[in-house]
Symmetry: C2
Amino acid sequence: MEKNMPYKIYLSENEMPKEWYNVRADMKNKPAPLLNPATKKPVTFEDLRSVFCDEIARQELNDTDAFIPIPEEIRNFYKMYRPSPLIHAEFLEKELGTPAKIFYKFEGGNTSGSHKLNSAIAQAYYAKQQGLTGVVTETGAGQWGTALSMASAYFKLACHVYMVKVSYEQKPFRREVMRTYGANVTPSPSTLTEAGRKILEAFPGTSGSLGCAISEAVEEVMANPCNRYLPGSVLSHVLLHQSVIGLETKTALEKYGVKADIIIGCAGGGSNLGGLISPFVGEMLRGENQYRLIAVEPSSCPSLTRGKFAYDYCDTGKICPLQKMYTLGAEFIPSSSHAGGLRYHGMSGTLSQLYHDGYMEATSVTQTEVFEAAVRFARCEGTLPAPESSHAICVAIKEALRCKETGEAKNIVIGLTGTGYFDMFTYQKYNEGKMGDYIPSDEELQNSFARLPEID
Amino acid sequence: MEKNMPYKIYLSENEMPKEWYNVRADMKNKPAPLLNPATKKPVTFEDLRSVFCDEIARQELNDTDAFIPIPEEIRNFYKMYRPSPLIHAEFLEKELGTPAKIFYKFEGGNTSGSHKLNSAIAQAYYAKQQGLTGVVTETGAGQWGTALSMASAYFKLACHVYMVKVSYEQKPFRREVMRTYGANVTPSPSTLTEAGRKILEAFPGTSGSLGCAISEAVEEVMANPCNRYLPGSVLSHVLLHQSVIGLETKTALEKYGVKADIIIGCAGGGSNLGGLISPFVGEMLRGENQYRLIAVEPSSCPSLTRGKFAYDYCDTGKICPLQKMYTLGAEFIPSSSHAGGLRYHGMSGTLSQLYHDGYMEATSVTQTEVFEAAVRFARCEGTLPAPESSHAICVAIKEALRCKETGEAKNIVIGLTGTGYFDMFTYQKYNEGKMGDYIPSDEELQNSFARLPEID
């Protein structure tokens, strides 16, 4: 494979996936069902369709069909920015002096700057199909909100984004991109919703949280039958759409003639990681192949590595369904010193189950080591990575340096989810030596776990 | 060609150009020689090499070799982010309802966010080859400074950027990207140089200009024999490096099976436009083909459409060589209401000569119509264009709408030089209806022309 290995591989447009892969179909232990927050019974299609588009509700409940066709109009939109390249990081390898081969799937080459567009366009399409006039969502670091703004502009849907207040203030340009695509952006908590008003009353100076912004968005759609809520991560249908990342990666690796040994992704709610590893974990589930799959999370928000595997609320206002997942508790808010995304209290139910069943490892890294890796990567590979993606880069560098010690030439694949263009405020902190690390204490987590709901 | 036309074409890495194309070799009327500012005689290699790297000085003076090999190390770096895609803007065509076919060559898919990296990496390479330790430059909108920071980080060269003060203040994140790649960034005018101090004394509240920042950078390198000045536009060797844009475009159009009718690029100093049109104008010069080539400039800084074709200084401090070009006068500073780049007082000598000889048209557009076009483009094609690139988009839309009237299915090619990620301050102005237009009065220009140097 060595000779004439191209630096990057773009699939041709007709090699792009025509179906999403639904990993749940191959799981013996399915993710536990979502529970209706009022009855604590498994949610029904009828429960979900007041919040989600009908087709999305169907996809969320579908754990039996392994392949779901991608509608042609979505595939046409995918062509705008996909296939994304799989890049052989030869400059990083040289910098590290490692015998390992490192590849990264780069999802940042579109204006929203991340992989989030893969699900945004699918969800906006189904909203349009259903004759809805608007969509509502929350955004933390801003990637999901931007992606949904672009998708909504394309389908001429109204788009309202509740943006976690700390991001709204630290990332005015992110907000402005959304507005340029026609979205309406509100800092959360806001006084527009009861959920927001409650939080503001209880914690007047709060910088907001994803859990609260979700409550506000869902409350708004429940009051307006022409709108629906569109989530950017955590839920199974989002992972389904994101499987295009893994499917393309698999095809491109075959073109390189390379079998992956280790696949590494950052994990917040799990949308990128779930999408990236889906087809590979599918092979493991079917007994066809073995891989080391590593989820990397921030040590300031360590749901997999230090959370409980239990039913919990997905949002602070407790109006969304409950999910069985690794969680830090729905009221957990990472320290304000934590920058960027990956700040959600829980993890995708699908990934949680896979982790619980031993198909995936998890590790956590501190913010300063993440930025050290990010800058090292940027200076030799060119691309300035998003803080989120840099979690995966950080662990990939560690694994590559381990190979240097052992002399093993492992093949390492990184999910590089996005660019750092809108995180320069945080890079500035790092450049000026002002970045801090925060690791929640055991006591803080125990207090949070004590408030988990009790489900039989 | 219609059937199964791909949305975008990426050449394979081995289809990338191995030689730059030097359009001057095919010009009967060569660009007039640069003049030494002290003697007013044509510059010699010895004159240039105190400011530029030796190989760059040679390329600047070479108007006879049509093809110049691209060193392997530069081609390896190009692989990081090239070939750039040629995209068939089918969503924009649908939005406009035009029979025209629109294609855009997108150069924004690298972290520096623009085409500037094509020359930055070449110039940094020659600096490294020569054993220099540092490079110095100026940047206006910030694209060139970012590109040179990336290139310098790759070759581990020290990099000092004089950033026009108004951009330094309006684009803190641009500055931060440069710092992340290890560059030192100084707002210009500064007190570090005599040129800067003079300007500050004469105009204490000045927001700076490219002409002044160039003087500061050149003054610094003349005092330090281990450093050289690296220019981002205007000069012939920069256009030479940028010819990769046009060469790739030509090959990709052949793959589409399309003959371009109109080729449109924005024009500030001319680096993008020159690179884009070089191989096409070469065909015209050799009598092989005909194209309509259109330079688009801001009406606030209209060097081609309203300037004089005369020898002028390239910098405010008058320490750089003089160039025969279309110019508004070296002391012309566009109104502070003008945002983004394309704010240089003159135009590449090569492009000026081609325009003078009738090979190229030029037109100017106002800022508000440019942003209108930018937002329209972004909402249907996805990509958020840089303000500079949007000048070309604006005229392409006009041409496509003209085709709608006449029913002609012309093939229009746009040079889309970069992304608007770092221009959100300006997009915000537009989104909030606070953007103004400025067109210099005839009197203002006449006053400026009166200060042009007299050269026999």
